[in-house]
């Protein structure tokens, strides 16, 4: 009875949106399946359908777990997750990466779960009453908490997941109520790096930083040190750049100019953009996409499923999809705002960020706004570990979104 009562408290709208997204994903996957020759493997459509049941079970587990459990065991779960993202390094590489834990019948990607586990541990740390938000030093620990798993995942190598693990950091720190100046201190190095390759932008940025430091009035020493270290970071970035993998470099370069490398990673962007553009407002119709079915689109069942939907079902349909995502994210933020306790509020904002980052990077890369990152679309893309992780996040959201303690 209690279980039913708890479920009545749940935000059914968010659950409904998530399930609609899942069904949209199946529509796309089934279209791919009709015309596809699967070379010695099962179609993603069937796989995806099979994952629904475990997804729902995991949703309920995450939902029925009492809130204090997450709060209490946050650090334990975190430790376990660090361990599990490190374990694949012991085993063999799968497709040249160390992303998978192979259990024979099923492969698990621990980094998918690390994403929201980092959110829980950050929320636990940032919701502490004794936290001194006036001091910049306070932020070192949360940064480390996110940076450690992100670094391990980056080494797998999985740049996309590493970025996703880092993405909730700044929104959560902001949400916890620190001075906006601190946020600036966190973001500034990134901007230094990005502008470093363009002398004019770098000069503008240098001046802008100076203005911000002047307005925010930090102590003289800390202000001067931060300012010059950020400048130095910008000057060093060309060297840091050389540390990246060639394929990562190439992906970033082609973001700015896809035509440079039409058969490399930009090939995917061009093809996907063409598919989406060719779809027009109404689309070519289900199962009719020539781009999709003549195999221009690589990884169309996961990273580029948006292109399949865009080509076959058109702009109108994509807008419905975007509105669904907007409602989902908006709803999560609203729950975070209305939440009574800080821990739940922070978890919600963190998970919201993860889902939004996935959505944004995926849809933006398909039209050439961001580099090709290989990030799947939540609830829609085929992919076992990620889909299950999405259902778990949904359980967590609905759980944290209830304004009751147990």
């Amino acid at each position: 009875m209690q279980l039913i009562k708890k479920f009545q408290d749940a935000n059914l709208i968010l659950i409904g949106i998530a399930l609609s997204l899942f069904i949209i994903g199946l529509v796309g996957l089934s279209s791919i399946a009709v015309h596809h020759e699967y070379l010695n493997k099962t179609s993603p459509f069937i796989k995806q359908s099979i994952f629904l049941l475990p997804g729902i079970i995991l949703f309920f587990i995450m939902f029925y777990m009492p809130k204090p459990f997450y709060h209490k065991s946050a650090y334990w779960i975190y430790g376990f997750s660090i361990l599990s993202v490190s374990i694949p390094f012991i085993g063999k590489t799968i497709a040249g990466t160390y992303r998978w834990l192979d259990f024979g019948f099923i492969g698990i990607q621990p980094s998918e779960y690390a994403k929201w586990i980092v959110v829980i541990v950050l929320a636990r740390y940032l919701s502490d009453n004794n936290l001194n938000l006036k001091k910049m030093v306070t932020l070192i620990i949360p940064i480390l908490l996110a940076l450690i798993p992100a670094t391990i995942v980056l080494r797998q190598p999985d740049l996309g997941s590493a970025i996703i693990i880092l993405s909730p950091l700044i929104p959560m720190i902001y949400w916890s109520g620190v001075r906006p100046y601190f946020i600036f201190l966190l973001i500034a190095p990134l901007i230094s790096i990005l502008t470093a390759f363009h002398p004019l932008s770098f000069t503008v940025w240098g001046i802008l930083m100076l203005v911000i430091f002047y307005i925010s009035q930090p102590t003289l020493v800390s202000g001067v040190i931060s300012y010059f270290s950020y400048l130095l970071l910008g000057l060093l970035s060309p060297w840091l750049w050389s540390l990246l993998n060639t394929y990562q470099q190439r992906r970033i370069i082609t973001m700015f100019n896809p035509e440079l490398d039409p058969l490399g990673s930009a090939y995917q962007v061009i093809q996907s953009q063409t598919a989406i553009g060719a779809g027009g407002f109404w689309g070519k119709g289900w199962g009719q996409g020539t781009q999709t079915h003549l195999k221009f689109l690589p990884v169309q069942e996961s990273d580029f499923i948006i292109s399949v939907l865009g080509e076959e079902l058109g702009f109108g349909f994509l807008m419905i999809l975007f509105i669904l995502f907007a409602f989902l994210i908006y709803g999560i933020v609203q729950l975070a705002y209305e939440s009574n306790d800080r821990f739940s509020s922070l978890v919600l904002i963190g998970i919201g960020t993860i889902l939004f980052s996935h959505f944004f990077v995926n849809t933006a890369m398909a039209v050439g706004l961001t580099p090709v990152k290989g990030l799947p679309l939540p609830f829609i893309s085929a992919g076992g570990s990620f889909l299950l992780s999405c259902f778990m996040m949904l359980g967590l959201i609905v759980n944290m979104g209830r304004n009751t303690f147990e």
Partner: protein
């Protein structure tokens, strides 16, 4: 700690909403730009965007004999296919291909409808293209947009060895078949699949993985470039090493050319099959492609049933070989001592019926050893009286009859071992009497066994029951477990008796012995009455040379007496196999 108040400000919420709104706006604007504003540009681009993926079939794994000679190989053939969405003016193009290459339009139209999957995937138009046809195709590619040619590896049988009954053959998957396949995703119409024999049993191992070839084509579907750096090469299937002894197999096929029946030879300890002949058979050449529908119809209609694998699917009464079955429980439970003697006068009365010995006038006084060696019926009519039907049928089952041998072939029959329940069902509770036992003891009546079961039985007897399951694939050994074991004394006596069959001056199996030094042959003959004419001639036995035991089963359908017809074939098998061994030993000794 959990109850730390949420201290979030409305301002923070507004900032977050603002950021989200901004990002959503950018995204929607970009999609609007691409899908609505620039739709025409991308639409044109998609039309001209032509890279085609054509799957590359993987060669099946080779099948080798025990000395790694290739038994089944592949050879490349060329096929012509077309992608329907690009193959506009289909009739015209098919007409042109027909004119250029001399392939009838009807065949291509039939192929087109048979192989059609959907408008995006290639359809096969013609097979077995010659190099000349390929070059004509290449010269005229501008007028044949949408067509592709590619390799299709086909099975090729290298040796003169037939072996179709164990090698099996592959067949092409058609529309009907593909729906029956459990995992149809791995296969498409036009692929080859193992249809029977080893090809079917080890399909998973032999099949390999397909690859993909990418082509860039222009607006009329003509290939501009093969994007070879994107090609995913097919992975050939794994090679399969069989235990077949090609020389032995070939000789046995020759010997059986004019007979119907089977010859089975194995290593008694390991269970490895060395020779597997079911006669009549088909030349594998007939299967190396090019078999027409008409040929097939002829083969299927042949009254000699060359497609039937007699070794695993032929059911026969075992005849006198089954007399040995009776001995197991008798000796094991000391129901009769091996020294017990009886007089064979040629006839035996049971109830109101008279049963005869095969030898008119009888064998005179016989003990157990003589009864086996000379295959005396009267002795066994009497001996079987001390067994129940349950005991007898249980012994048959324990020794592998009535079950599959689980040899690595897809089809196998279990045969028939009648027990009380079976006879009750068939004849009614009062419709049969213990007199049925007399027939069963002689391996006659309602017993049916397969030759392969008898080969397994030979291995069991030769090794005191410590053998492995029969198999073709080298290394695929697994122990054969008898649910009931027998004492050493039982094994020793039975082995002694079947040795006498060969050595005794009146032994029925005398002709099986090639008289090679250090080679000890044992065996039992069978002459199985059947309603189809002359009795079936059986020989069952093994030859022991040093540490090696070669087991042999020979069946000649309607051949007459086992000792006269089948035993000599077994002798040849022993001779061929062991003379090589001895040669090897000798040259080894000299060096």
């Amino acid at each position: 700690m959990l109850k730390a108040e949420n201290i979030i400000q409305l301002g923070q919420l507004r900032v977050v909403r603002g950021v989200l709104l901004f990002l959503f706006f950018i995204l929607i604007a970009r999609y609007f730009q691409i899908q609505i504003l620039n739709h025409d540009i991308y639409h044109k681009k998609a039309e001209g965007n032509r890279i085609r993926a054509i799957s590359l079939p993987a060669p099946r794994g080779l099948i080798l004999d025990r000395d790694e000679n290739i038994l089944v190989d592949n050879y490349p053939t060329f096929i012509l296919s077309a992608i329907p969405i690009e193959f506009n003016d289909k009739e015209k193009k098919i007409g042109l291909i027909s004119d250029l290459m001399g392939i009838s339009t009807d065949i291509m139209e039939i192929n087109y409808s048979n192989y059609y999957r959907n408008k995006f995937l290639p359809v096969r138009l013609a097979k077995n293209l010659s190099f000349k046809q390929l070059s004509i195709l290449e010269e005229n590619k501008t007028s044949l947009g949408g067509t592709y040619y590619g390799k299709l590896p086909k099975r090729f049988y290298t040796d003169h060895l037939n072996g179709i009954h164990f090698l099996g053959y592959v067949g092409e998957i058609n529309r009907k078949k593909i729906n029956q396949l459990r995992d149809s995703h791995s296969y498409t119409i036009g692929d080859f699949i193992g249809w029977s024999g080893i090809e079917k049993y080890y399909e998973e191992l032999l099949i390999g993985e397909k690859g993909i070839d990418f082509f860039e084509v222009n607006a009329i579907g003509e290939i501009v470039e093969n994007l070879s750096d994107k090609t995913v090469q097919p992975v050939p299937g794994s090679n399969l090493k069989l235990s077949i002894h090609s020389k032995l197999q070939k000789s046995m096929e020759q010997l059986m050319k004019d007979n119907s029946g089977s010859v089975l030879i194995s290593n008694a300890y390991t269970g490895e099959i060395l020779s597997y002949v079911s006669s009549p058979d088909l030349s594998t050449k007939k299967l190396s492609g090019g078999t027409t529908q008409k040929d097939w119809e002829k083969i299927i209609a042949d009254s000699d049933t060359p497609l039937l694998d007699r070794n695993t699917s032929g059911l026969y009464p075992p005849g006198s070989i089954f007399k040995l079955i009776t001995l197991f429980p008798l000796l094991e439970e000391n129901k009769i001592y091996s020294s017990w003697e009886t007089n064979c006068g040629g006839t035996y009365s049971f109830g109101d019926r008279v049963f005869n010995c095969w030898k008119e006038g009888g064998h005179g006084t016989v003990n157990m050893e003589n009864a086996v060696a000379q295959s005396c019926n009267i002795y066994f009519y009497q001996a079987v009286q001390s067994l129940t039907l349950e005991k007898w049928s249980g012994t048959c089952r324990n020794l592998g009859f009535g079950y599959k041998t689980e040899i690595d072939l897809p089809e196998e029959k279990t045969g028939l071992i009648p027990d009380r329940q079976y006879l009750n069902n068939k004849h009614g509770k009062w419709g049969w009497s213990r007199g049925a036992m007399l027939n069963l003891a002689l391996g006659q009546g309602e017993i049916l066994v397969t030759p392969i079961q008898l080969l397994q039985f030979a291995n069991i007897v030769a090794t005191n029951g410590k053998t492995n399951k029969l198999h073709f694939r080298l290394g695929n050994t697994s122990e054969l477990l008898l649910s009931e074991s027998y004492s050493d004394k039982t094994w020793r006596l039975i082995q002694k008796f079947i040795r006498s069959t060969i050595t005794h001056s009146k032994g029925t199996g005398k002709l099986a012995d090639p008289h090679i030094r250090d080679l000890y042959i044992s065996g039992k003959t069978g002459t199985a009455q059947n309603p189809h004419g002359e009795p079936h001639a059986w020989f069952f036995g093994f030859g022991k040379y040093k540490e090696e035991i070669l087991s042999v089963v020979v069946l000649i359908e309607n051949g007459g007496h086992g000792g006269e017809v089948s035993a000599p074939i077994a002798r040849q098998a022993f001779e061929i196999y062991f003379s090589d061994k001895i040669q090897a030993h000798l040259s080894h000794a000299i060096n």
